[in-house]
Amino acid sequence: MSACSPDLRLTSERGQREVFCGLTGIVWLHRKIQDAFFLVVGSRTCAHLIQSAAGVMIFAEPRFATAIIEERDLAGLADANAELDRIVDQLLARRPDIKLLFLVGSCPSEVIKLDLSRAATRLSARFCPRVRVLNYSGSGIETTFTQGEDACLAAMVPTLPSRAPELPPNLLIVGTLADVVEDQIRRVLDAMGVTEVGFFPPRRAQDLPQVGGQTRILLAQPFLADTARALEQRGAGYIRAPFPIGADGTLRWLKAAADAFGVDEGTFREATQAPYRRAQHAVARYREPLAGRRIFFFPDSQLEVPLARFLAAELGMQLIEVGTPYLHRSHLADELALLPPGTSLVEGQDVERQLDRCYAAAPDLVVCGLGLANPLESRGITTKWSIELVFTPIQGFDQAGDLAELFARPLIRRTRLVA
């Protein structure tokens, strides 16, 4: 039973988990930080995963690669550290444009206890100041999908420059957002008079935002437990808020920032009224196809709770089950409070039992990963790929309508196709 609210039904489940590991975060992180390179130290499976996840879309030599561990590394015939140094040399010689290199730990590197943090320190000293080398783990034994971003950002926190105490307070928005969304948010905050705003991660490794005792952090993503903790340890204050999903979610999220920065009610309303109305209007177009429809979430990105809140509150959908890989009680406190009473939340996964429940419930729409989507569709169950919710700009006022459309499209499509 729920520890967070007496009105929610929370269960935990263990069994086969049909989710990605944290390495997958590289797919969007390498697009966001444009002078960073991600070197996975792992197996052929890791390389194959990222390649399959990114799609075989080779427009460019990508800014990620895998140092594949081979038999001779395991047998001790090769010194793993010397091998890693050799590969990093090879890599950085090819790519003089790289300013930040992440050594990304994987399941095999964790199991053989390869110390990537020492390797990062050693290589950083060697390539300083041209390239900074950091490390984090994206292994499946430690991270689930979006937690890879959390681990990556947490590894960057110690490198953020300190903000002098005499400087005015600054707002740090944490979590990868599309550039266009960042620009929109910055404009609204500007209009409120909140101008000391930084985004983390930055678009370029050199543009790291400052952090200090005067810093207030506002999470843009719900999966950043370690990053938030690391920032708090650097003195930053945490702004409690729901997440910027949907018109209302975005308004509440911005209000939390406005309150933290002492913005008065009138200024806040003036800055947000027009975009909020626009967002409401855009969302309203999708009430008709979505209201009253029953939705079932398989766990994926930890975005499930804010998404479910948006679909229930702003579009009138009925929540059958909200599965999530991990439920961060305190970061999601405001979200959980906004869920309809009686909502069934499932943390963790046993995919076979969950499929049984899904078939029994016969929902109108299922949000699930790509391994499950077509098999469900072939049984006549309409699905929405959850991965698109991670790669598409969905946060903020001007994306609220697009987000609603992502859920409406599969249902509309089904009515268009002649049976």
């Binding site: 499976t45 990508p62 594949i68 590969i87 499946g140 034994i141």
Partner: protein, 536 residues
């Protein structure tokens, strides 16, 4: 360690999945960490299978490592048996579980399930996907067919008079490059010859079907990468010969029919006289003369690469200037094949090495995998895809085999269409001096404004033709790879007036010309000097 940007093959357990998914009534329990389930989407998204692959993953996490991962495996096996009721169960480790040394096979056998349990030993740090598929298929075949095995030294009796000859078809798997359609094409050929197909495996076979493999007179191995290992055991055990020719291309198809007829002890002459190949005629038609001597680089798995080289050379009159494979297991065969075309084979699974090789050889056409398609796109060279690794485009809705005479027709279209129409190329050459029909004149129907000229290479969008097979399109633009001379604006503009299908070549030739003369800047003069230099 090996630095890898893109891989041609997945890990060996993905090969095992291709076999398990192809068959019916088989379940695979894979001891693996959370995240390895990504492999499911290869099947459900790329091949669009309507069912999940029959795979249970133990998905252990860090907290399980200190505890009982062995117990986790046993409960996963037991649950999978109870839920799916398979005829046989495969058990094995992925790369991470291999390091734990839990002995999945022993643990699964200790459960005393009433079905065969086949333990797979697939060394992830040495081997790759195709090897894993071949090994898995071989282990399944042995487990199923051993009981029916005759004593050692068995010699097959001649077939009784009046019995139709029969064969097995070995090799097609799930997620195979056109395996579904190749199978149909080959079954049609065999039916035309009056040969009965005893068992097709792994695709569509049950464990019980594998037990009957020894009943056939001989084996047809469509894909040696996945089927040869099992076929060798069947040859030893049941004295079943294997057909060596892979029927990709018109000539290989004729050879295949002759070889099959010999193994079956029948006369194929009437059948061979009745078949027609449109590709063979098209290649002899006058429009195809422009194909003569086109320089091609071939790269793929061993079977498809070798077949493509033969078709390119013998059936289309191309010049094979490069031949390579990522199938190291077949390096010797490919080296021998390459010698026939007077080139040295490149055996590598390093994508960057393949890219460098293609850039160096400057072919007119690349016959490769989806990886080479991207390389060719960057080099602005036409390309056709001939082999795995597969992409959603390699599972077309229509019937589109590579094998048999229809396959040869498909290959003719697929390889020739990326090249410019023959007639157009002739006209360009013939009217090169015409004031309205020279390389620098815009198309007459577009008027004379420069604005209507086709965009120059540098203005083209990075690429618009591919979809993200799996995830959304988040990739960016390509950095320019070459560090050659730079282009003066007016020369760049002039280049843009050259018809797009020869523009890439003109750009490369001009840059090579400038490089050889140490010219840092390509001017209008350089462009036309180079044109004069290279024109024949």
């Amino acid at each position: 360690m090996q630095l890898t940007v893109w891989t041609y093959e997945g890990p060996p357990h993905v090969g095992a999945m291709r076999v398990a998914t192809a068959m019916r009534g088989i379940h695979y329990v894979l001891h693996s960490p959370q995240g390895d389930t990504y492999a499911d989407l290869l099947f459900t998204m790329i091949e669009r299978t309507a069912q999940r692959p029959p795979v249970t993953y133990t998905t252990f996490q860090a907290r399980d490592l200190g505890g009982d991962t062995a117990g986790l495996l046993q409960s996963a096996v037991r649950d999978a048996y109870d839920r799916f009721k398979p005829d046989a169960i495969l058990v094995g480790s992925s790369c991470t579980a291999e390091l734990l040394q839990d002995d999945p096979g022993g643990l699964a056998r200790a459960l005393h399930l009433p079905i065969p349990v086949i333990a797979l030993e697939l060394p992830s740090y040495q081997k790759k996907e195709n090897w894993g598929a071949a090994e898995t298929f071989y282990q399944l075949v042995r487990a199923a067919a051993s009981r029916a095995a005759p004593p050692a030294g068995f010699r097959r009796e001649p077939r009784a008079a009046g019995d139709a000859p029969s064969c097995n078809i070995l090799g097609p798997t799930a997620l195979g490059f056109r395996h579904r359609d190749d199978l149909r094409a080959v079954e049609e050929i065999l039916a035309g010859l009056g040969i009965t197909v005893n068992v097709v495996a792994p695709l569509g076979a049950t464990f019980a079907d594998l037990a009957r493999l020894g009943e056939a007179d001989f084996n047809v191995v469509l894909y040696p990468e996945t089927g040869a290992q099992a076929a060798r055991w069947l040859a030893r055990t049941f004295d079943q010969p294997s057909i060596k020719t892979v029927p990709i291309g018109s000539r290989a198809t004729r050879d295949f029919i002759a070889e099959v007829a010999q193994a079956a002890g029948i006369d194929a002459t009437p059948h061979l006289q009745s078949v027609t190949s449109r590709a063979e005629w098209y290649s002899r038609s006058v429009d195809s003369t422009y194909l003569t001597g086109k320089r091609v680089v071939v790269f793929g798995d061993a079977t498809h690469a070798a077949a493509a080289a033969r078709i390119a050379s013998e059936e289309l009159g191309f010049s094979v200037v490069g031949l390579g494979t990522y199938s190291r297991e077949f390096a010797r065969e490919i080296r021998e094949t390459a010698e026939r075309y007077g080139v040295a084979a490149f055996i590598t699974d390093d994508y960057l090495e393949v890219e460098a090789k293609i850039a160096e050889l400057q072919p007119d056409l690349v016959l490769g995998t989806q990886m080479e398609r991207h390389i060719a796109k960057r080099l602005r060279t036409p390309c056709a895809v001939i082999s795995s690794p597969v992409h959603v485009q390699d599972f077309p809705a229509r019937y589109s085999p590579q094998m048999g005479f229809e396959g040869a027709n498909v290959l003719f279209d697929t390889w020739v269409h990326p090249l410019m129409m023959g007639l157009e190329e002739h006209l360009l050459t013939m009217f090169r001096g015409d004031f309205e029909f020279n390389d620098a004149a815009p198309a007459s129907h577009l008027g004379t404004a420069h604005a209507s000229a086709p965009p120059s290479a540098s203005q083209l969008p990075p690429s618009a033709d591919s979809r993200a097979p799996v995830f959304g399109g988040v990739m960016g633009t390509a950095p320019v790879l070459e560090t050659g001379p730079s282009w003066a604006p007016e020369a760049e503009k002039e280049l843009g007036k050259i018809p797009f299908f020869v523009r890439g070549k003109a750009r490369r030739n001009t840059e090579r010309f400038a490089l050889e003369r140490s010219l840092g800047l390509i001017t209008l003069e350089t462009l036309y000097d180079a044109k004069a230099h290279f024109s024949r």
